[in-house]
Assembly symmetry: C2
Homo-oligomer: 238 residues x 2
Amino acid sequence: MCHNVPMPTLRERVRAELVSEIKATAIDQLESDNADLSLRAIARRMGMASSAIYRYFPSRDDLLTALILDGYGALADAVTETEAHVPRNDLAGRLRACANAIRNWARDHRAEYALLYGTPIPGFRAPQDTVVPVTRLSGVLIGILADGVNAGVFGATERPEDVRLTDDLSALVEGFAHPEIPAGLIARGLTAWMGIFGAVSFELWGHLHGVTNDYDALFEHHLTLLNQLVGLQPTPSA
Amino acid sequence: MCHNVPMPTLRERVRAELVSEIKATAIDQLESDNADLSLRAIARRMGMASSAIYRYFPSRDDLLTALILDGYGALADAVTETEAHVPRNDLAGRLRACANAIRNWARDHRAEYALLYGTPIPGFRAPQDTVVPVTRLSGVLIGILADGVNAGVFGATERPEDVRLTDDLSALVEGFAHPEIPAGLIARGLTAWMGIFGAVSFELWGHLHGVTNDYDALFEHHLTLLNQLVGLQPTPSA
DNA sequence: GTGCTGGCAAGAGCGCTGCTCACTTTTGCG
DNA sequence: CGCAAAAGTGAGCAGCGCTCTTGCCAGCAC
């Protein structure tokens, strides 16, 4: 009865191994074929009976939900890792790094990005489970804004706006950011945030086809505009 | 052999009727159930054999393509119609009207919006066919920018940027807009455009859940920010 | 009016899917 | 070693997209 002691049985270890192999195969199938994933195809590729999959995932939607959860985590990892390498006082650079990390991760994991930020086809995507990694991701942006408030970057230009945020978000901001971030600045951050994901989705879904061939340059310029929209200077110190 | 004379045979008329009834049933099914559309279900609901559908649409993807095409047209209609009711010199109001028309249409046609701007699941979405209504939609934005250039609204503040647009887009701009629109302004318009669709998608796909309960206010403020980003004053004359 | 032809509908059928269930095999603990 | 729990199997059900054969029936030539 080793309850909370993380001593995995060999059974449990091989089970976890198989679980992640199933997920890897699923992502591989999603990524290669643009078709939707098929449990039977996964089982076929893994050399096991299709019914055996159900020992590990009770349904196809549960597999998808697991993939979505992993995806949010992986994206948050990529963003935090990239953003951490930027000097803390280079606020604009940090936002750029976040946006580029999101874009690069999305381009490298098209299918997963589609799962996260594409059409939420079925009825799953349990919000209770995804809230943790999503909070982790948005926390990076909030951290940038908080540091900017601390540094007095936005100071005089910002005036309170009429956007009412939920108590959840207010609590989240309070939890993440030590200083108080004015609601107007949060709103500007949201505009930038939605602009980033809008641009990434537009690029990936082909809505920029025929607009430009240099997606990198467009995105860079996009970020410049968004940076000055939230009130961040290109390079404050360097 | 009434070739180009639009004299529809009674056969052709009832056929067109049935085609649009199939499409309506498909959209209804997509809208009510959040499931993906099933030709058999459509046939079942219309009281006909499933194989009969194939007389009108050679495949399920062709039906989807037709729906996407109609969707782009309907969205372009809604936007142009709404934008036309705004005084021509109220450039910011026209952009607001476009954005609100997009958002309202998306909220009223969730499934169709998902088809247009969600995950492009299969391999279809023939770009050759969708280019016309898409051009019609983007032309509205270009028209606003062109009128702004004519009025000298953006004048001094705009400097050339390093975003290289495709020849296609340049030709499109030339075709639509009589004056020359600087590439930097086009880029700003694109940022606003992607910001609008990003916000609409975020709202519809539930990514603003727990952020705010007042989506209207957030979107309005979002538009204010985007308007001042492209350099449009709230109300230039009124 | 009769015969024919071409579009329309129906239904069986193929291979695929998610999923269930009865069953056998394997595994690891007591 | 014995045995229960877990893992894996294969048949089977209902649904799907799609095809093919069959039959129906309106409209035109004569």
